[in-house]
Structures are given as C-alpha cells and as structure tokens.
Amino acid sequence: MAISVDSPDVSRDLCQKAGYTFPFLSDPKAEAIRRYDLLHPGAGINGQDIARPGEFLLDAGGTVRWVNLTENYLVRARPEQILEAAKAL
C-alpha cells in the first residue's frame, strides 16, 4: 500500500493513469508519516511538509521484516528486491 500527503483526488488520478490497484492512503496532516519518523519538513514544492521515501515489509503479525530508507530520494527500492524479501515471509 502507498502513503503520501497527497489528497485522495490526486491519488485517484494517479491510480487511474498508472493502473495501480493496491490501496493508496492519504495522509495530508502527516500523522502516520510522523509516527514512522519519515517527515521531511518544508520539502514540498510550496514548502509544505512531505514524507521522505521509505518502504517497510510487514509480516501478517505486523512486524517489520524488511526495510529500505534510501539516502537519495532519486534512488528507490527495486521491485526485485522487495519480491525477494517477500518470498521469505
């Protein structure tokens, strides 16, 4: 599932254009983003607070089994890496 500060409308457009079918959750006040310590203050295009990228793979019990916190926002986890980690669940 994907989480950002985008409004549900913006995420709906994105899902329609890109054909994503997994849930997209909207966190405009950055509540969950703060809880995961991923807040990047003032980094939005108009100086708004946004999330820095972060990916977490949880098992059925909700425990973190794999995590990726990139040091450069242009470099993200690749699907192969995540699938490899998911096989171990």
Binding site: L25, H40, A60, L69, L74
Partner: protein, 150 residues
C-alpha cells in the same frame, strides 16, 4: 566586416548540455537503470563537453573575431554551469533528507494508523493485515511512503 562561418560546435555543445540536463527529469527518470545512477545523462554531458572544447578551440583560433571569442567563452561557461547544476541536484540536493532514525526497525512492530483511501474511506493497518485476499489470510503488507505529487 568580414563574414565568418558560424562556430556551430559551440552552440551544438550548449544545446547538448541543456538536453543532458532536462532529459533526466523528463526521460531517464522513468527507468531505475538510468535513474538510480544517471550514466546516460553523464554520457550526454561528456559528449557535450567534447563538442564545446572543439568549439572553444575554433573560437580562439587566430582568424576569428573578438565577438566570436566572447560568444564562445559565454557558451562554454553556461555549459559548465549546467553540468554543475545537474551534479548538484542529483548527487547533493537529492540527499538532503532527514535520516529517519526513529523509523521502525526490523523485528519491531509497525505502528498502527488509519488513513483515508482514494474513495475517502478510512483504512487501518490492522484491517489490511487481517482482511483476506482471495479467501486467504494475507502473508504480509508492504508500506510504501512516497513524496507525493502535491
């Protein structure tokens, strides 16, 4: 005034530098291969640099006008600045992020939250972990926090 041939390498070099810069956000960012490390853009900058050097040598050859030399120097400087802007944005500014030292670590329980989905319906993490997919209990959940499109 004597008519001289256009010093095309200097202008081609400058245009190539502009293309090397803008092709990253508009083209090469789409594929992890050319996004994670911008080798395609650095290659373009390399070609641009060679062409600019050829142009500068032409501009400063003895038989060319003062105007041609000034234009050559300006175009070469601009190309250099464009390369510097690219290096700065991709390798330096893109790393200016909080370290996320308090983010949940491997073996820790992921904090619970409830947020609205694209239909405005609240969805809780615990719900996603427990609601069956195709009649089977899910093996897990992948959380992807991303910067967003605003």
């Amino acid at each position: 005034m004597r008519i001289q041939k256009l010093n095309w390498p200097i202008w081609v070099g400058l245009l190539l530098s502009v293309f090397a810069l803008v092709s990253y956000p508009f083209i090469f960012i789409r594929w992890p291969m050319t996004r994670d490390f911008p080798w395609a853009n650095l290659l373009l900058f390399g070609i641009a640099a060679v062409v600019v050097v050829v142009g500068v040598r032409r501009a400063f050859a003895g038989d060319r006008s003062r105007r041609s030399k000034i234009a050559g120097a300006i175009a070469a400087t601009l190309s250099g600045l464009i390369l510097a802007l690219f290096i700065f944005s991709v390798f330096i500014a893109a790393r200016w992020m909080p370290a996320a030292l308090g983010a949940p670590k491997i073996g820790q329980k992921a904090p619970e939250f409830s947020l609205n989905d694209t239909n405005g319906k609240p969805v809780a993490l615990s719900e996603l972990l427990s609601s069956p997919i195709n009649g089977k209990a899910p093996k897990g959940v992948l959380l992807v926090f991303y910067r967003g499109y605003w």
